[in-house]
Amino acid sequence: MFVLVVGGGKVGYYLTKELINSGHEVVLMEKDRRRAEAITEEIGSVVISQDGCEGKYLREAGANRADIVAAVTGDDEDNLVICQMAKHHFDVPRTIARVNNPKNEALFRHLGVDEIISPTRMILGSIEQDIPVHELLHLAALGVGELEIIEAHLQPGSPAIGRLAGDLTMPAGCSLFGVIRNGTPTPLRSDTMLAEGDKVIAIGRPDCEEELRGQLIGDHTEG
């Protein structure tokens, strides 16, 4: 696999190192000359000290034969441009962007970036899992069709407690597929009786959330 990494910060540096160690062909673009030299000293001459947002330098770095372009600079706008240039100008089959502002995820996806990695969202998700909230938890985003894996923790007051899973009316585009009870995961069948403390796992589109929240969480006020 030939991977073109753009951005030689911490993420780009370790990513490049790991990819080389697993036997991939890698070129790293880092526009800051001193940073580029420091990385070259450490891991060898895989670094091109040019701006990966410029079409000319992307071509020189071999963008037109790259299998993957990973844009991991600290600036969302740069990562967007790198991926769009790679995708539309050089026909790169797979583009990956780091996104810092979670609000930008939808735009990036809409504009054709294949995979979006949001450290902010990941840390947020991790924090949400640790504190009990009367909210739906976003466990992961699935690449295709903007689907999400969502968890609902059934707490006292949830309208779903004591009901059969089959009796719940789920919105189109959303499906319940599992329940975690006392730490044990089981598939959710239509004759599963839901109980307090259950963690129900669903896959659905973001626009189903409102309905899902109503069915599983109920009308809570915080605290």
Partner: protein, 173 residues
Amino acid sequence: MKAVIVGCGRVGAGLADELDRAGWQVLILDITSAAFDRLPASFGGTALRGDGTDEDTLRRAGAEHADLFLAATEGDNRNVMAAQLGQEALDAKRVIAKINDPVRADAYAHLGVATLCRTNLMTTAVLEFLGQATGNRPGIYPPEARHAHAAAMPHSKSDAGTTSAARAADAEE
């Protein structure tokens, strides 16, 4: 008519003033409030400090449904991002992004954003002044396709390497 201008540099401020005097409803954003010193005292539009590449900021500022959305900051990529937000999320009718790199200016025109390329404008102006042939360097690349869902751009791989990039080498500032 409603105009949203991101970036209050000389171009942004100048156009904001012109459109304001022509009777447009003008909203101009910049990340530094000092930039608004460029606006004349008579400016009757709204000047707002904020990041024009941030969707929340733009919505709070009321940047939706503009007749013109012009991204004219100093950064090509910030302009690309702001313009695409204007087009895809904020329902702007016409979107223009200032992109000084001719390769990117050409590429984004294919993706449906009208792009304004200072490099080409100035190169052409100098060559004209010298009485030399100016070649094909459009100052504004008109949008050629609707964004996003348009499939690959009409550039083939080899084409991307030769025509546009070669033009960039010629015209670089």
